[in-house]
Amino acid sequence: MENVKRNTLFPARGNQAAAAARGGLAQFWKRHEKRLLGILFVLPALYLLWQFSYGAFFQTLYNSVHLTNIRGQAVAFCGFDLYRSLLSGEEFWNSCLVSVEFVLLTVLPSLAAALALAALCRGRMPGGRLINVLFSMPVAVSSACVTMVFMTLLEPSMGLVNELLGLDLKWYLDSELALVSVAMVVNWNLIAMDFIFLSAALRAVPVSYYESASLDGADGWKVFRNITLPSVSPTLFFLTVVNILQTFQAFGPINIMTGGGPSGATDVLSYSIYRDAFVNYQFSPAAAKSVLLFFILLGVTMVQMKSEKRRVFYQ
C-alpha cells in the first residue's frame, strides 16, 4: 500500500528503486541460491527438533527442579528435593525392579522365539514368501487391539486359555502373574519385529556355507550353532538393545490390561510417569522420573555404541 502511494508521488524514482531492489533481491537469491535454500529447508526440522525434542527435554529438566501447580506451571524452585524423595521412596525402586523384571520377561523370550522362527523359515520352501509375511505381520498389528484380545483369552472365568489348558489361573488379576500376562502381549509384537531383522540377517549369509555344511553331513543343531548363530550375533546384540529400549517404553498394554496393578505388580517406570502426571496431576515428580528414565536408557544406548565401536575396531 505504501509503495503504491510513493510511486504516485515520485513515479520515476520509485519505480527505479523498486526495480533495482527487485533485481538486487533476485540477484542475491540467484548468487546464494544453494545456501539460502539449504537454510530454508533445514529450518522446519530445526524448529521441530528444538520444540519437541531438545527444548522439551530441557523443559522437563526445569520442571523436575521446580514445584508445579495443577496446570503444570512451575511455581517454586525446589532443587533436587524431588529426586531425593524419589530415590529414598519405595515406589520408585519398585518401578525400577518391575521394569527390570519386565525386560527379562520380554527381551530374552522374544529374541529366542524370533531366532527359532527365523532359523525355521530360512532358505527356500513352498509358500516361503507368504510365511515370511505372516510371521512379520504382528509388527503392524496395534498392541492396543492385541491387548484386548489377550484379555479375552486370559479372562479367568471364561477365557479360552484356562479352558483349553485346564488351568485355573487369574492371569492379569493375579499380582504374581500380571507382569507375565502383560509380557505375553508385548512379546507377541516384539517377536515379529525381531523376526524381520533376524531373517534379513540370515538372508545375507552365503548359501554356500549351508551347502558345504550339508555336504559334510552336519546335523541341524550343528549348522545352527556354527553357522546361523555366529552370523546373526551382531543383529542379536543390536536387537537386545532396541528391545530393552522398547520394553522400557511399553505403556499401552499395561494401561489397558492392569493399570499398573494389582498392588504395583506392573507399575513399570513409563506407567508410573503417566500415573503421576495424568492421573494425579503431579507434574514435577513425573518430570524427575522421566529424567531418570532418560539416563537409564542413555546408559543402555552407550553400552551398545561402545561395544559396536569395539567390534568395528577388531574387524
Binding site: A45, L48, F52, G127, A140, V146, I196, L245, F294
Partner: protein
C-alpha cells in the same frame, strides 16, 4: 500326484513347511481368535462351552457396528486423518532436510545431522510431559494439529532420505547444474522421482506407526468425536460393555486397513525398518 510321491515332498522341505504352518497357527492364534469371535453371536459366547471357531456363523456384530452401536467410524475418520497428515508431513520434512544436508550449501551439515540423530536418544517419556503442556497451553487438545505435532520430524526418516540422496551419483548433480537446472528444480524434478523406493519405505513405516499410536492420542484427546481408533476401541472395554463379540468386529475394522497397507508394502516396510534402524 503329490500323494504318490510323499518322499519327494518331504525332501523338498514339505515337512518343514508343515511344521511352520503349525507354528504359525499357534503364533497367529490371537488374530484367528479376533476373526472367529467377530463372527460369533454374543449369546453363543456366553452360553456354549469354549470353541475356537463359531458354532453358528453370524454377521450380527458387523451389522451392529455399521448401525453405529459403537462410534468406530468416527474413530476411523480421525485416525485416517491423523496418520495421513503425519505421513505426508514426515515425508516432506525428511526429504527437504535430507536435501539440505546433502545437495545444498548448508553450513554445519554434519553437526546438524548428528543433532537430529541425537534426538532419537531422548525417549518419548522424557519429552511427553513438556509436549503435553505445550499442546494444552496452546489449546490444541482435541485437534488434529495437537495429535500430530510431536511426530512431524522423524530422525530415522531424515537418515533414510539422506542415505538415498547420497546414493545418487555425484555426476547427476553436476550434469543437472551444467544443463542450467537450479537446485530447486533438481530436487523436485530429478531427485524426488528417483527416490520412489525410499519414499515408499518411509511412508509405509510412518503410516503403520502413526495408525497404531496409543499414548499420545490418549493424552491429548478426551472427546469421543476426536478419539482415534486405538484409544477409542480400548475405552469400550472399560465401560459396562461386556459385549466382546461386538468389540472384536470393531477391532477387525481397526486392524484391516493397517495390515493391508503392511502386506501391500511389505518389501518397502522391511527395507525401511532394517535400513533406518541401523543407526537408530
Amino acid at each position: 500326484m503329490r500323494v504318490r510321491k510323499p518322499a519327494r515332498f518331504l525332501r523338498r522341505g514339505g515337512l518343514r513347511a508343515l511344521l511352520v504352518i503349525a507354528v504359525a497357527l499357534v503364533y497367529l492364534f490371537p488374530l484367528v481368535r479376533i476373526f472367529s469371535m467377530s463372527f460369533t453371536s454374543a449369546s453363543e459366547l456366553y452360553a456354549a462351552e469354549a470353541s475356537i471357531l463359531p458354532r453358528q456363523f453370524t454377521l450380527e456384530n458387523y451389522v451392529s457396528v455399521f448401525e453405529g452401536n459403537i462410534p468406530i467410524f468416527t474413530f476411523l475418520k480421525n485416525t485416517v486423518a491423523m496418520a495421513l497428515l503425519i505421513t505426508a508431513i514426515q515425508l516432506a520434512v525428511s526429504s527437504i532436510t535430507a536435501y539440505a544436508l546433502t545437495g545444498l550449501d548448508l553450513p554445519f551439515q554434519n553437526v546438524i545431522f548428528v543433532l537430529i540423530l541425537g534426538g532419537m536418544m531422548i525417549p518419548f517419556e522424557s519429552t511427553m510431559l513438556s509436549n503435553y503442556l505445550f499442546v494444552a497451553g496452546h489449546s490444541l487438545r482435541n485437534t488434529y494439529l495437537g495429535l500430530i505435532l510431536p511426530f512431524l520430524l522423524s530422525p530415522a526418516g531424515v537418515f533414510l532420505m539422506r542415505q538415498q540422496f547420497r546414493s545418487i551419483p555425484r555426476e547427476m548433480y553436476e550434469a543437472a547444474a551444467i544443463d542450467g537446472c537450479g537446485p530447486l528444480r533438481l530436487f523436485v524434478r530429478i531427485l524426488l522421482p528417483m527416490s520412489g523406493n525410499a519414499l515408499a519405505s518411509l511412508g509405509i513405516l510412518s503410516m503403520v506407526t502413526a495408525w497404531n499410536q496409543y499414548v499420545w492420542p490418549l493424552l491429548v484427546t478426551d472427546k469421543n468425536e476426536m478419539r482415534t481408533v486405538q484409544v477409542g476401541i480400548s475405552m469400550l472395554q472399560g465401560l459396562e460393555f461386556s459385549d466382546y463379540t461386538l468389540v472384536m468386529a470393531g477391532i477387525v475394522l481397526v486392524l484391516l486397513p493397517c495390515v493391508l497397507i503392511f502386506i501391500v508394502g511389505f518389501r518397502f516396510f522391511v527395507a525401511g525398518l532394517t535400513e533406518g534402524a541401523v543407526k537408530g
